[in-house]
Structure formats: C-alpha cells, structure tokens
C-alpha cells in the first residue's frame, strides 16, 4: 500500500504480544462462564470468586492494546525509513501481487492475463493450465479516486451525532450529506467513458439498476402497507381513520401528484427532442407539484397533531405516520433530485445525451406516484 516494508523484528514482537494478550483476555472467560458468571455485565460481586479470572482478562486486554500500539509504531517507522517493498515480496499466488509497488489507486490499467485459480503463481512457476491468457490492452476505465464519499460519510456521522444530541446538528449533517451526494453525482457527469452504459442485454445499466431498486422498494412499501392493514381497526383508543382523515383535501393532493407525473413525462419528452426551454419548464413544474404535495402533507400532519392524533396515540397513528411519512420522504428526495436536474438544465448541461438521467429520475418519480395511488385507496378510501 505504501511501497515500504514493515519492520520484521518489531512485527514478530507485536505478533507474540497480541497472541498472548488475546489468549489471556479470552481464555479465562471460558472458566468464568463455567463458574456461572453471566455474559455482558459491566460489574460483578466481589465475593463470587470471579475476580482473579477477570483481572487476568483485563491484563490480556491491555496486552492487545500494547500490541496494536506496537503496530502503529511499526507502521510509522516503516513510513519514515522502511525498506522499499518489491512488487512481489513473498512470492504471492494471487493477482493482487502482480501489480507494481506501491500499487496504483485501481491496481491495473489493463486487464492482466488470467491462468486460472492462483493465476500469478501459475504464471511464475507453471503449469499454465486453464483458459488461455487473454491480456487485454484496451484501457480499463475505473472512476478516478474521489474524496466525496468521505465527505458523505462525514455528513452522515454528523447527523448520527445530532441524533444523540440536538436536532439542529441532524439538519447540518443531512444538508452536508446531500451536498456530498450531489457533488459526487456531478463529478463524472461529463466523463466521456461514462456516456455508453449499455450492458449485454442491450439495456442501460443505470436504467436496469433503477428498476431493480424499484423492485426492492415494492417490498419496502409492501410491508409498510401490510402492517397498516394488519393493525387496522385494532387501536384500543381513538381516533379511528374515518373520524380524522380528510378525503376531499387528500383527493386534491392526489390529483396534484398524478399531474406531476404528467409534467415529468413532458419534461423527459422535451429533453429527448432537445427542447431546452420546455425541459426547464416541465422539470421545474414537476418539482413544484411535488412541493405542493409535501405542503398538503405538512398541513395534514399539523392538523392531526393539533387534534391530538400523533404517532404515539394508537396503532393507527404509528402505522399511518410511518407509512405516509416515509412516502413523503421519498417525495422530498425526488424533489431534490428534480431540482438538481433543473439546475443542470438552467446551466445548459442537460442535453439529448443526458435523457437517460432524466428518464431514471422520472422512473423514481412515477414509482412514488404509483405508491401513493395504492396508499390513497388502501388508507384513505377503503372504509
């Protein structure tokens, strides 16, 4: 990884320290368990006879810690003045040893010859059985290293810290994450190697991946709807669905979402025929209709809470808010997606060649629509 060898002597010391520490830490636990000590307790009575064993375990745990510390020292020394590592220092068997040292970020620039299992060993020592080596000299396209995934992970970490502390930190973490996702998505937006994604079935990989994802979403919403229906009419206290659901208002929001799907296909048709003005208009329109739907949902939820109907109220509340809230989250993600496409369109970066990107966003959007078609009937209309 670094092109340097670790120190052999310190490495051996580290191995034995960790080996001894590990066994000292875990072996007494077998006896302690046989003596009746329960697992996963943070303290124990002093008169139970478990003290000596646990003391040994603690000493062993410190031993593991010292071993890890030795590794860190060894790695640090190796980085500073370690002997240069040759490409194949231990006469390796498998292909990862075939690359140079230190290896490039993605190991190989061209596909290496493959002689079967333990390919590199066979290449060096024979017999070279199996498939004939098919070394390809065509450049192998692998996305360049990006720091955006690290930024996304950091954003999620901040959101997680916020979940334990304060909701404002969650908002910062989520915004950070979304920013990272958008930047990662746009990083290779115009990379030529990404233009053609047609697979062996003659289908675009991205489109196929979206359909697979939508298939998994069927399970996601299927289980939520089933849970809602399974608990329907079983709440011990009120309100019941027919006492609180506002069908006329939801009918309007349903109509709004259906019409947003129409605008979405109009946007796709405009991008496909290269009509930039209409593409911008319909993409923005779809996002606005999505926002209107979210506004209706926010109004509905607020009304419910004012009437004392919350997630904790009864089984109906728990299942209703989880189902419709997660659907609303999907709509919100769709709106962000549509707005990012709209910004691309505004900057003139959404041409005919990018139609598949709009089509994939459209598939997601229509799926959100069909899920609402089902929810509207099953939750709101069926008495």
């Amino acid at each position: 990884m670094t092109g340097r060898l670790l120190g052999e002597r310190l490495g051996r010391v580290q191995f034995w320290v960790i080996f001894a520490g590990f066994n000292l830490a875990f072996f007494p636990q077998h006896y302690l368990g046989a003596m009746g000590m329960p697992r996963r307790i943070y303290t124990y009575p002093t008169d139970a006879g478990w003290t000596a064993g646990n003391f040994a375990s603690t000493a062993g745990a410190f031993g593991i810690g010292v071993g890890v510390l030795l590794f860190i020292v060894n790695a640090w020394q190796s980085l500073r003045r370690g002997a240069p590592a040759p490409a194949d220092p231990w006469d390796g068997r498998t292909l990862e040893w075939r690359t140079s040292s230190p290896p490039p970020a993605h190991d190989f620039d061209t596909i290496p010859p493959v002689y079967g299992r333990d390919s590199f060993w066979r290449e060096k020592h024979g017999p070279r059985r199996g498939a004939p080596p098919t070394a390809s000299h065509a450049p192998l396209h692998v996305p360049a290293p990006s720091h955006w995934p690290v930024m996304i992970a950091l954003g999620m970490g901040i959101a997680a810290v916020g979940a334990l502390t304060h909701v404002s930190i969650v908002v910062i973490g989520v915004l950070w994450t979304i920013w990272g996702i958008v930047r990662l998505a746009l990083e290779h937006h115009r990379t030529h190697a990404h233009a053609d994604q047609t697979g062996v079935l003659g289908l675009d990989h991205r489109k196929m991946a979206m359909w697979v994802f939508l298939g998994s979403e069927c399970f996601f919403f299927g289980t939520l709807v089933a849970t809602y229906l399974a608990y329907k009419g079983r709440s011990v206290v009120g309100p019941a669905p027919h006492e609180i659901l506002n069908i006329p208002v939801t009918t309007v929001s349903t109509f709004d979402l259906l019409m947003s799907s129409l605008l979405m296909v109009l946007a796709l048709a405009a991008v496909q025929r290269g009509d930039r003005r209409q593409a911008r208009l319909w993409l923005f329109g779809t996002a606005v209709f999505g926002l209107v739907f979210l506004g209706f949902q926010a109004y509905e939820f607020t009304e419910f809470v004012h009437q004392g109907f919350t997630m904790q109220q009864n089984l109906f509340g728990s299942t209703f808010f989880v189902l419709t809230g997660l659907h609303g989250t999907h709509v919100a993600i769709g709106v962000l997606w549509l707005l990012s496409l709209w910004v691309l369109a505004l900057r003139g970066r959404l041409g005919v060649a990018d139609a598949v990107k709009v089509e994939i966003a459209g598939l997601y959007w229509h799926f959100v629509d069909v899920v609402w078609i089902a929810i509207f009937t099953l939750v709101y209309l069926i008495p």
């Binding site: 608990y231 329907k232 069908i247 129409l262 799926f367 209309l381």
Partner: protein, 102 residues
Amino acid sequence: MSDAPRDGEHPTVGTYVRVALVLTVVTALEVGVIYVRRLAPIVIPLLLAMSAAKFALVALFFMHLRYESRVLTFLFVGPLILASGLAVALMTLTGAFLVFGR
C-alpha cells in the same frame, strides 16, 4: 415475447395527456363511489380494481414498461407480486384478512 427492447415505438405527448385524463377521471370515480350507498357491498373490490388500473396505466405509459424490454417488466413485476404475497401472508397470519374471518 421477445427480450429485445421495443425501442421502435414511443408514446407521444398526446398519449401522455390522454393517460393523465383517464387517471383524473378514475380518481374522481374512486372518490365518488365511496359516497354511493348502493355500491357499499362491492365498494372494496371496485376501489381495488380502479387503483390497480391507475397503477398499471402509470407503469405502462409513464414508466414506459409497455415499450421497454420484458427484462425490466420482470425485474419490477416479480418483486411486486412477491411483495403483494408477503402483504397477504402477513394479513392472514395476523387475522386481519376479513375473507378468512376473525
């Protein structure tokens, strides 16, 4: 039943608008039938049928499944059937399915 993409045909803007009109009319019918007392005995199957029709219209025309490779239909409809089966099974197990009584 060919696996080749049927990219030759494409829905026109007119088709999209007609589908949206049908969706609007069916939604209005859905909301209408729940207020018709005489339809009460068949209202649930009626609503389910209309909802399924809307679902199919959006999937076939707006999501282009009608014009796409059957592979994509399989990728979506397969899990959809399994998920529906899962929902029916869950409701049956918890005794929520009125067909089986409580």
